[in-house]
Symmetry: C2
């Protein structure tokens, strides 16, 4: 189990004794999934999730443009709603910033966040602001979904097919180019073909998108048996989904959609190390969806939004653990080796 | 206007253009009050609020026991629900901590928070954990209330009576004793009468309580016309309530319930400066309720929980600004001089 999952387990245990039925009426799903589900007995349920985005941990103010920080912090949080199949509606913003960031930096940050909010049709419903030594953002997102339709991590069954919604490792490549590739996110208005290609490659890292339409479709049509978003790398997130469902998995490395570095960049990319499979398995922040579909539902999937970008990467198995099949290297155990703030 | 209110205004403006009716359906009250109200058309409404509690800004890990940090961070957030008259139900915890705090410190923190959760019958519904250089806590609380009964800051009318729910400045006194009074929150098991008195005086700062029962009663019986909790000092919070309601206020300093220092502590309290009126007007974190009542509703108030501790401190007036009447000094304008993270 990864360090963060262990810590979440400790937090959950500290509060477990109190979760009697009288306290939890209205709570359909609690700690441990992508989001919590609140029901007030009506046709709709509210889906809630929160996400921290911290200077020095998740972004660097010298490297990341302020509008990217604002944009991405909201998309990250909304991706947890996509992962349940919910439609984003509102968000609460807790913002702690140093006084020196309350000028232009704050304006650009807010502009980026407002752009993300518009694109996802989300409304700011409240928040809290205070000062701090470093920028600290915590966002709570509220989505809605028809009662009983939310897709959790726990529904995968042996024999189900495992899908991902798009190319993995793109965000890691963008980060690597930004940090090691002699590029600055703040000065990325390129003129040459190489510069423009670079710009496009930075986008998945700086301005990601949540797969809201696909998530909502999969939930509405009851096509996915389990679902989550890939925020910490496929190896870590698939392990979490399998653990929640009490199953194992077999995946083929050749089936995983990997990043391809454009020819214009194959030389002169600085200290960048380019390992597409490692980027997919261990790189975080792709915000693609990882979901399972029973064989009898697989046909329905053809009507899904952007079906052509979906890839079946393996199957759910009985037992525990994930087996990765590689044409050259054969079979190996896949350990969670993605982003883990409390990893050793 | 205080610095934090100005900043909240800037944040609200950045997102204002998008709050069309299509986006906000279901949102009964948005940014600017103590909490947001979500309605899904049923009998109950959900009330949401978030609150940041940061090491170095709101607490000091060398001074404040970890269980106090856990306890208080949840109570602070829940106080915003009391301020609307809502009953707390669930909370989401965003916790960023350094690796060195994941041992005993985290256990004690969680124990304190679990104690607060039990006492307020709140259930942990989700959250996010990550690492950081300093402890950073952000809590989103979810309460429920009968549809249309939530009390906002905006309902005060000229002629309404202004009440506070208890002694003001107690938390500031506790903080002053802790920081300047040769006392440590971690070593406060006293044996002498003086030590025991000290212990009691630290409690309002270390282990505050949210006035949930009173808030819910005032909302349920439609007795309060406007309400908020006093978290940043009476001068600042009364100004906010008056601004939201578009009214002014007259208050009498002699009517404000002030802290009294026990005789055993009147000597030897270190570098402590003891100004009860300043503590009430400028000291934060009391989490008492500030509310207004129309003259015809004032009689009903006698049936309120802990009625004997309610004090009428003044009246709502037409026009703007707050006039403080002092027996000795006469009348003066009361400026917001409470806790303001972005104050000059």
């Amino acid at each position: 189990m990864d360090g963060e999952s262990k810590l979440v387990g400790r937090v959950a245990r500290a509060f477990r004794s109190q979760t009697g039925a009288s306290h939890t009426s209205g709570l359909r799903l609690g700690i441990g999934d992508d989001a919590a589900i609140l029901s007030s007995g009506g046709k709709k349920e509210w889906v809630l999730s929160c996400d921290a985005f911290l200077e020095g941990v998740h972004f660097l103010t010298d490297t990341h443009p302020a509008d990217s920080v604002g944009f991405k912090s909201l998309v990250r949080a909304a991706s947890d709603l996509a992962a349940m199949g919910a439609t984003p509606r509102f968000f609460l913003l807790t913002l702690a910033i140093p006084a020196r960031r309350t000028g232009t930096w704050l304006d650009e940050f807010l502009r980026g966040m407002a752009r993300a909010a518009r694109s996802m049709k989300m409304t700011l419903a409240g928040g809290d602001t205070t000062k701090s030594n470093a920028v600290s953002i915590s966002i709570t997102v509220v989505g809605e979904i028809a009662g009983g339709r939310a897709v959790t991590r726990a529904g995968a069954r042996p024999g189900d097919l495992i899908y991902v919604s798009g190319t993995l490792g793109r965000a890691q490549l963008g980060l690597d180019l930004l940090v090691h590739g002699n590029l600055s996110g703040k000065k990325r208005r390129g003129v040459s073909a190489k510069d423009r290609a670079m710009e496009g490659l930075l986008c998945p890292h700086l301005y990601p998108s949540a797969k809201l339409e696909l998530g909502a479709w999969l939930a509405r049509h009851r096509v996915a048996s389990a679902m989550m978003d890939i925020s910490d790398g496929l190896s870590t997130d698939l392990t979490r989904l399998c653990t929640a469902s009490g199953v194992g998995a077999q995946i083929q490395s050749a089936a995983i959609p990997l990043v391809v570095l454009p020819a214009a960049l194959s030389k002169g990319s600085g200290r960048l190390k380019f390992h597409p499979l490692q980027m997919a398995l261990q790189g975080g922040e792709d915000y693609e969806l990882l979901f399972t579909v029973s064989p009898r539902n697989a046909k329905k999937l053809r009507a899904a939004p952007r079906f052509s970008q979906l890839r079946q990467i393996g199957k759910v198995t009985r037992g525990k653990g994930i087996v990765l099949t590689n044409r050259k290297a054969g079979k190996s155990r896949l350990k969670p080796q993605g982003w883990d703030p409390f990893g050793s």
